[in-house]
């Protein structure tokens, strides 16, 4: 897949604008995943009965757990895909770089 292109990957090294953009994508995806994980921990701790609801013979505890594992991989691939392209013009994002 495109995100695994090694040559393109090297081109982006040490470009501050790209780095700032990647950091921003990273934080957004991190927040998403953290929310997903926090709800899981919260349900287990404070509403364990909710985990026994079954879908197609398999309970929510197992589905949610497997979902967290799969979601980590999916978000990681999305992140790679987002970061794959180098920021073309430093000017377009200079405002954000100074955040």
């Amino acid at each position: 897949m495109a995100g695994f292109d090694h040559v393109a990957a090297e081109a982006e090294a040490a470009d501050p604008a790209t780095a700032a953009r990647n950091a921003r994508y990273g934080l957004i995806l991190f927040t998403l995943y953290f929310a997903f994980y926090a709800v899981f921990v919260g349900l287990n701790a404070f509403a364990p009965d909710a985990m026994s609801v079954s879908f197609g013979g398999i309970n929510l505890a197992v589905i949610y757990g497997m979902g967290l594992i799969i979601a980590a991989l999916v978000l990681a691939l999305i992140y790679c895909w987002l970061c794959h392209h180098r920021v073309v013009s430093n000017q377009t994002i200079s405002g954000e770089a100074g955040r």
Binding site: F4, E10, E12, A19, V41, N44, A45, V62, A72, L75
Partner: protein, 586 residues
């Protein structure tokens, strides 16, 4: 249980270890410089590094500990799998790239890249050393547990063998060989776990309705130290008895005795409607000695696949126990990105893009493995292979159930994986000692080749300490012990790492204080917790709870925020330069 070593297992095992050592010597001969020894010269391909992440990370705790915990408690063991994997999200999205940009050898370098502070170097170096040693304990315990059934040796002999082989590997090789060895083993471990899972699914589920499968087992240790099993002397001969391996189904849905091959989802849904026999352990002391009774309890499959069998507080309304669980899950989430041996793997690749790609490969490999742990654990739970005295052996004994060759291969992979993880940890610890503590803090200038030599001496010392601790902590679940290492790592390192990357007003005093306070508070919390009073100091459960100084055992929920708070407070107090630059801007 008394082990039953097979010659085949021993031969396969020796071949594996020999190949590992040969690889180490081969690559070791190539690494002469300090950069080569500690960071593989930054020239490892991202794919190799990614699978090596898995090799490093899927240690004794994952393969032995989690499978064992699932086999005894069901779903609660799987919670560790979920937490261990979720931590990689923090590593990838928040830490990996800036860290790669800032550092050279150790994570202290990265923290220090804008400050050049001796205080930070000291704090970061010490915490890397402490966390590595903490993480080494479960590896050693797991390795010892593996050696027992494999070679028929005692647990302590296993620990000494691992320690010696690892020190040999580290002293001859360094990061290049560690990486390639981890690459091969990480790949093999996932591959063979997959094979084992296929075999479990292919066999399906089966009811064991023999009356003797439901008989309780009693271990009596007389005041003279003699061990009796069900009233007979412990042994394998006539008039002697040994503990039976346990774990079976007492009922399948629809009253069938056997299901035949099942798909993965079918396996879980069938188990959910079955009745599983789990075992409880009760200890009592009397005049005739210490008596441990293991009793079978019929449990609904629905119950086994829900949280709360190990974390019993989740089901009743005990707030402290609920917070204990939240605290553990927080530490697992935050811990991965704070582990020194995970962090140094970011210095073995060329650039940020390679760091990112190798993390994705790592997440894929590790995630696949953690999905398999659920099947392997449940397979062990229902295949009559559980050793009641050591939960760490569930996965290898399950493999033995499918034949000696698979057992030999899986044990050998697990053992060499432990070797690899331990070598990675020891390289990280010795790197911290040499770069951070000796050169950075004490200010002793070392030439390049001296650094490597001192690093090797440090590695040998850390190895010996780990051997001792591994013997001391025998019988603990490896996954549980790793939970402690995660708590300490997350409390000490994460606040500093995150704030230095994202908060412009961070000062060197703030970073130093956060690391030291996080490390000491989490260590202290563990030492005075109920779990430690019970399992380490040997008090009965009830008394341990009253003796404990803290309301729940897992420190993360308190000590991770404490680290952040400390950093912010001290940074605000010591602020001098009004416009320091943020590192995220390059």
């Amino acid at each position: 249980m008394i082990p039953d070593p097979s010659p085949l297992a021993i031969i396969v095992f020796i071949i594996f270890v020999a190949i590992t050592l040969a690889l180490s010597f081969y690559f070791g001969a190539k690494a002469k410089s300090a950069a080569g020894y500690f960071a593989a010269g930054g020239q490892i391909h991202w794919f190799v590094n990614g699978v090596a992440f898995a090799g490093d990370y899927l240690s004794a705790a994952s393969f032995l500990g989690i499978c064992g915990m699932i086999s005894l408690y069901g779903y609660d063991g799987f919670l560790y799998s979920i937490g261990f994997l979720a931590g990689w999200v923090v590593a990838l999205f928040v830490i990996a790239e800036p860290l790669k940009r800032l550092g050279k050898y150790t994570f202290a370098d990265a923290l220090n890249s804008q400050f050049q502070s001796r205080g930070i170097t000291f704090a970061a170096g010490t915490s890397a050393l402490v966390v590595s040693v903490f993480y080494l304990i479960p590896q050693m315990v797991g390795a010892g547990a593996l050696i027992v059934p494999l070679l028929g040796l005692a647990h302590w002999q296993g620990v000494v063998i691992v320690g010696t082989v690892v020190v040999l590997i580290v002293c001859t090789a360094g990061m290049v060989s560690t990486t390639y060895v981890q690459f091969i083993k990480g790949g093999l471990l996932v591959l063979f776990s997959g094979l084992l899972t296929v075999m479990i699914l292919n066999r399906g589920l089966k009811v064991d309705d023999r009356p003797e499968a439901m008989e309780p087992q009693v271990v009596t240790t007389t005041p003279g130290g003699t061990k009796l099993i069900n009233g007979l002397p412990h042994g394998k001969g006539q008039e002697e008895a040994d503990l039976r391996p346990v774990g079976h189904l007492s009922k399948l849905p629809g009253g069938v005795k056997e299901t035949g091959p099942l798909g993965p989802l079918q396996y879980l849904s069938t188990l959910q409607q079955s009745e599983v026999v789990l075992w409880t352990k009760k200890e009592a002391a009397s005049q005739s000695g210490k008596i441990i009774t293991y009793s079978p309890v019929k449990t609904s499959g629905q119950d086994v696949l829900l949280p709360g069998r190990k974390y019993d507080g989740l089901r009743d309304n005990n707030l402290w126990k609920k917070l204990d669980f939240v605290s553990l899950m927080l530490a697992l989430f935050c811990g991965t990105a704070s582990l020194p041996h995970v962090l140094i793997r970011y210095y073995t690749v060329k650039n940020q893009a390679a760091a990112r790609l190798s993390t994705v490969v790592g997440i894929a490999t590790i995630g696949a493995f953690y999905v398999l742990t659920l099947f392997m654990g449940l397979g062990a739970m229902t295949s009559g292979t559980i050793d009641l005295t050591d939960s760490n052996m569930a996965a290898p004994l399950l493999a033995k159930n499918f034949g000696d060759l698979l057992f030999a291969i899986i044990s050998a992979i697990a053992f060499t994986t432990v070797l690899g993880t331990v070598s990675g940890l020891i390289v990280a610890a010795s790197g911290a000692v040499v770069h951070d503590l000796i050169v950075g803090v004490l200010g002793i200038p070392l030439k390049d080749h001296h650094k490597v030599r001192v690093g090797k001496i440090a590695a040998a010392i850390v190895g010996i300490v780990a051997i001792g601790l591994g013997i001391w902590f025998k019988g603990f679940n490896a996954g549980f012990l790793v939970g402690w290492a995660f708590s300490v790592a997350a409390s000490a390192n994460l606040p500093a790492l995150v704030m230095i990357l994202f908060w412009k007003r961070t000062t060197k005093q703030g970073v130093t204080a956060a690391i030291l306070v996080g490390m000491l508070s989490s260590l202290g919390w563990i030492l005075v917790s109920a779990e430690t009073f019970q399992n380490v100091y040997g008090y009965p459960a009830k008394q341990a709870e009253t003796l404990a100084w803290v309301p729940f055992s897992q420190p993360g929920l308190v000590t991770i925020p404490l680290g952040f708070l400390m950093l912010v407070l001290v940074s605000l107090m010591t602020r001098r330069n009004p416009t320091p630059r943020s590192l995220t801007e390059g």
